[in-house]
């Protein structure tokens, strides 16, 4: 059997499959269902300096081959994440975990990352400069190269752990933002966060989402995500984590061929809570089918012409 392992910013992953932040909580809901140590790692629920209830409901709308969410970074705040969630996480997951961080100012990002840097189990900091569901923050840092670079520099200054910047697709030139983050010291880039979307209820003529708009995810966005991963991976030297609509072993391989070192799975977890485990179990057979010996060899292996 070929090898599934990949190296993500200096840390070995037993396989490249990573449940994406916001779809996996702090792990323990899923640990009731299967041994989540089968995962490469997972990215825990987006954490901010202070506790947030998030947006009003409805926060969820269905779409063709996908969904819109406008949760709005609900989380108990970094102190409670450290004192209450991480001890529970540690009980069921014994590998380095990816800490996902959001903020409303550069200082917020630095504060939260500095707190999480001290947590032994945190392997990587995934810094979300791309949340479409909060006002006055989140995505606004990820839509300007200089603002994204400023967050990157501030975070790099407070941690020795690998810093991965998670980018928004809701921009005109994602490559320039990725390069600005790399130049500012980012150890990796993850993409894509959700696409800004909207649905209207025909009976009430009101938006289905209470916050009017939300982030569109699911299989429908896979080609858009793949294209952006391809563009960014060609332009930067640091590892890229690909995500957006991934829901099968084939999707994982396609993302890796486009240039992803590891692959996050988001919305699919909400529909099939076993999907990441199933993808990992399907990978060896799918690799054999496409004559892949070691997964790490196919990263960026797409050939043009």
């Amino acid at each position: 059997m070929g090898s599934l392992s990949v190296n993500l910013c200096g840390i070995e992953l037993s396989n490249p499959v990573i449940p994406a932040s916001g779809t996996f909580g702090y792990g323990y809901e899923y640990a009731e269902l299967y041994d989540i140590n089968e995962l490469g790692t997972f990215s825990f629920k987006g954490t901010t300096k202070d506790a947030r209830f998030g947006n009003p409901t409805p926060r969820i709308a269905e779409c063709t081959a996908g969904m819109i969410n406008a949760v709005g970074l609900q989380n108990p705040g970094v102190e409670k994440v450290i004192s209450e969630e991480l001890p529970k996480l540690k009980q069921c997951f014994h590998k380095p975990v990816m800490a996902n961080v959001s903020g409303f100012s550069v200082a917020d990002y630095a504060y939260t990352c500095e707190r999480l840097d001290r947590e032994e189990q945190v392997g990587w900091l995934e810094v979300n400069v791309s949340c479409p569901n909060v006002h006055g923050g989140g995505m606004s840092f990820g839509t300007q190269p200089e603002a994204a670079a400023e967050v990157t520099r501030a975070v790099k200054a407070v941690t020795k752990k690998p810093v991965i910047i998670k980018l928004s697709p809701n921009v005109t030139d994602i490559v320039s933002i990725a390069k600005a983050c790399e130049d500012a010291g980012a150890d990796g880039i993850s993409l894509i966060n959700t696409l800004l979307g909207m649905r209207i209820n025909l009976r009430t003529r009101k938006p289905i989402i209470a916050n009017t708009m939300g982030g569109f995810s699911g299989p429908a966005i896979f080609p858009v995500a793949l294209r952006m991963v391809y563009q960014v991976a060609k332009a930067v030297k640091v590892p890229v984590i690909g995500m957006g609509g991934v829901s099968s072993a084939e999707d994982v391989i396609e993302m890796m061929l486009a240039g992803a070192t590891a692959v996050e799975v988001g919305a699919a977890n909400l529909v099939n809570p076993f999907i990441c485990r199933d993808i990992i179990r399907d990978l060896p057979e799918t690799m054999a089918k496409y004559r892949i010996e070691n997964l790490s060899e196919i990263i960026g292996g797409v050939t043009n012409g």
Binding site: E32, P58, R59, I60, N272
Partner: protein, 244 residues
């Protein structure tokens, strides 16, 4: 929670728009009345959460109203069709809180979860009053089924075409020890105001996952924020916080 494949045994109309589906499969994850299941349907991305009406060791009964794409798809399904279902979701009603004479109030498609709840309470030797609220006579279902269990049943209709004219709150018995209720939010609010005892109510919200992972259905309560799918859908009266 368990993921398993169920087979439809029957799928029949109870009224113009309300259907009863009986399925066979592994019900072992269902632990309390008031829990729900989450059903995967062909061609639709998100699962559909539906309350459990009744269950035994090998069958599951759900009652659903056709309101959109998902329930339209379900109406067209024939016996023999297999469905991927997550079972044992949500907390359900706490039977230990009900005292010796609970009143159960169900409004419209809030009626179904009251059925297994009534059954379980009667098995414990409790006296059970049931009030079933509907808009009008031709929307009524399950009156006879509740009577057959041995409950004291009252039906209310908003237009007075059958039973007591008005809402479920117009038919509250003089004496009861606790209430359990499921229905549209205006009904829950009315019951909250009209009742003097402790009670439990089941809430609804658009859900992403149905098992507590996505925070799509969070609500504020007097005891902190809760996920309707995982910490609910049943809330105790004293923790409910009504928002404007």
């Amino acid at each position: 929670m368990k993921q398993s494949i169920f087979t439809i045994l029957s799928n029949t109309a109870l009224t113009d728009s309300v259907y009863k589906m009986v399925l066979s499969g592994d019900t072992s994850a269902i632990t309390a009345p008031g829990q729900f299941v989450n059903i995967q349907l062909d061609g639709l991305f998100l699962r559909r959460p539906i309350s459990v009406c009744d269950y035994d060791g090998s069958t599951l009964t759900i009652i659903y109203k056709v309101v959109g794409k998902g329930t339209e798809t379900m109406r067209a399904m024939a016996p023999g069709k297999k469905l991927d279902i997550l079972t044992g979701l949500g907390n359900g009603y706490d039977l230990s809180l009900t005292g010796e004479h609970p009143v159960l109030l169900g409004g419209g498609v809030g009626v179904p979860p009251m059925y297994n709840l009534a059954k379980k309470l009667l098995e414990q030797g409790k006296k059970v009053s049931v009030i079933l609220g509907f808009n009008t006579k031709n929307e009524i279902f399950y009156e006879e089924e509740f009577k057959a269990l041995g409950c004291d049943v009252t039906v209310t209709t908003v237009d007075g075409s059958y039973g007591v004219k008005g809402f479920v709150t117009d038919a509250l018995p003089e004496y009861y020890t606790h209430f359990c209720c499921c229905g549209p939010e205006p009904m829950l609010k009315a019951v909250y105001r009209a009742t003097k005892t402790s009670g439990q109510m089941s809430f609804e919200e658009r859900m992403g996952c149905g098992f507590g992972a996505c925070m799509g259905c969070s609500c504020k309560t007097l005891t902190g924020s809760k996920r309707i799918c995982k910490d609910g859908p049943v809330m105790k009266k004293e923790e409910i916080l009504w928002e404007a």
